[in-house]
């Protein structure tokens, strides 16, 4: 028994980044998931959404909500990540000046996702896109 939710994100559309995390939060609240877990999940999904808006051309957030855990797959068509290990470093950023001026791209995205999730897996093809998969267990 699992519930699947899908959201599309357009590259550069910062004003709509946050829709998926907001919707996922509403579902989790109705499922009586504890507030702490919800917060971790919402923060992680939001960071992933902003990553797509900041770097990619287009992307999709898929959430599979289960009784004990949630699995999130964020896949995008975009420039990809050359060095994933480096990208995971807090503070490392390839965000453009414009994106930084908007208050995003501080290089905390992926490390923040890692901090708030129980499992994280990143796959990327330079020039094609990136898929970020993470899992959170409810406490």
């Amino acid at each position: 028994m699992a519930l699947e939710l899908t959201f599309n994100i357009a590259g550069g559309d910062f004003s709509n980044a946050g829709k998926a995390s907001s919707q996922i939060k509403k579902v989790l609240k109705q499922l009586n998931i504890d507030a702490k877990s919800i917060k971790r999940i919402v923060v992680a999904v939001y960071e992933a959404e902003v990553n797509v808006a900041a770097h990619a051309w287009e992307g999709e957030v898929k959430a599979i909500v289960d009784e004990n855990e949630i699995l999130i797959v964020v896949s995008d068509r975009g420039p990809g990540i050359e060095n994933i290990k480096q990208a995971m470093q807090p503070g490392f950023s390839t965000a453009s000046k414009e994106v930084r001026e908007m208050g995003f791209g501080a290089g905390m995205g992926l490390s923040n996702i890692e901090k708030n999730t129980d499992e994280l897996h990143i796959e990327s093809q330079v020039g094609e896109g990136t898929t970020v998969t993470f899992r959170c267990y409810y406490s």
Binding site: G18, S21, K39, V42, Y46, V65, D66
Partner: protein, 455 residues
Amino acid sequence: MSEKPKYHALKVDAEKCFGCTHCMQICPTEAIRIVNGIAVIDDERCVDCGNCLRACPVDAFYVVHDELDQIESYKYRVVLFPSVFIGQFSEIYSEGRIYEALLKLGFTHIFEVEQPVEWLIESVKESRKEVKEGPLISSFCPAVVRLIQCKYPSLAGNISPRKAPHDLAAHFAIQQLKKQGAAENEIGIFYVSPCSAKMAAVNQPVAERESIVTGIINMKDLYNRIMKLIPAKEYTDTSDFRKYLSREGILWSLPRGESSWFRKKSMAIDGIHNVVKFLERLENDEVPEFDFLELKSCNQGCAGGILLTGNRFLTVERLQKRAAGYPRASQVNTGGFDKEAIKRRLITEKIKPKPVFVLDENRTRALEKMQKINNILCQLPGIDCGGCGAPNCHALAEDIVQGKGRMTDCVFLQKKYVKEQKLKSEKAYKNLEKIWGEKRFEADCNKKGGRNEGF
């Protein structure tokens, strides 16, 4: 389950209500359904914001209040009212004349609730450190407090565990009267409420055992009585009653009335739908850090309270002018009173969350229900017409999985089922009668509905 049922001051007059759905559509917690032709409020979801009363084209909503004649049983008859009460009168009536009319009505002591407000300011500022994470949220507006408890339970711990100005004024009044030799049972304290939320909160305080107030008076009711009694000019000097009133006190219930003295990084939001949008973001951690948030359910704060008369912007304008003539709260001399004793009484227990939107306590069943809702939504038209007696298609889908509604409640699906011969047209007609009342299809010139503002 040992808790008392949630008290509400808002009621529906079944004689006047004809189920026009205006209230149902505007309710911020989707607490209203139409059953048998009448609006029915869900007690668990209702936060007493009063938007239903405001939206009703036939005045079918009313608030429960106490009668004024009960003041006669007390030797010391204290009237407590928020400053907005004065603000709603036209400028031709001086505050002195309004005070005199209150004395004529039979009150012996008059207190605007926002005094001596410096003590509450200190206390709220002290409560900042009692909240560990995130902003301190003002506990001033009871509709917002209830909204957070039921819809944003994770933020309940951020609400300042402090009482409201009317508690401050009530304790201050009692201390003052006792000093003059009054016995506690001789004192009757009557609070004039600007809204249904304050009425409910005064009657059933969120985190206390009982209310300090003897009776609650409807502000609209009192306004009408004052207008009848108001003297042509001032005969007695009532300024002594306003000795402890300050600029901050007068502006307290208006937008920025609290955030302006809290300073630091604070922000004020008015209007419950604006508050909802902001709380969603706050809960998602999508807003910058704040020290203090002032959230008020009514547009223009209490100047927009549902029991006020007159235009809310004019009320704000008058109060701002009035405030300029009063000293700052810190300049008010409250020597001779036991400030610490009253400050101790302003502290409440932590506000507890009371989530009501959980689909099921059991997570597996909740997940099943969620899936069913999604499947049902695929069948519904998505036009949120309210023809089923629920505010929108999503709410109907939720009602169906909770056993409170049926697919055939949807007027669209009914047509479809009749066409597919799954439902007899007689049965479909009966279904609609169940929601909209038996005589719903009869001609009746009283049920014209409302129009957009300005028409």
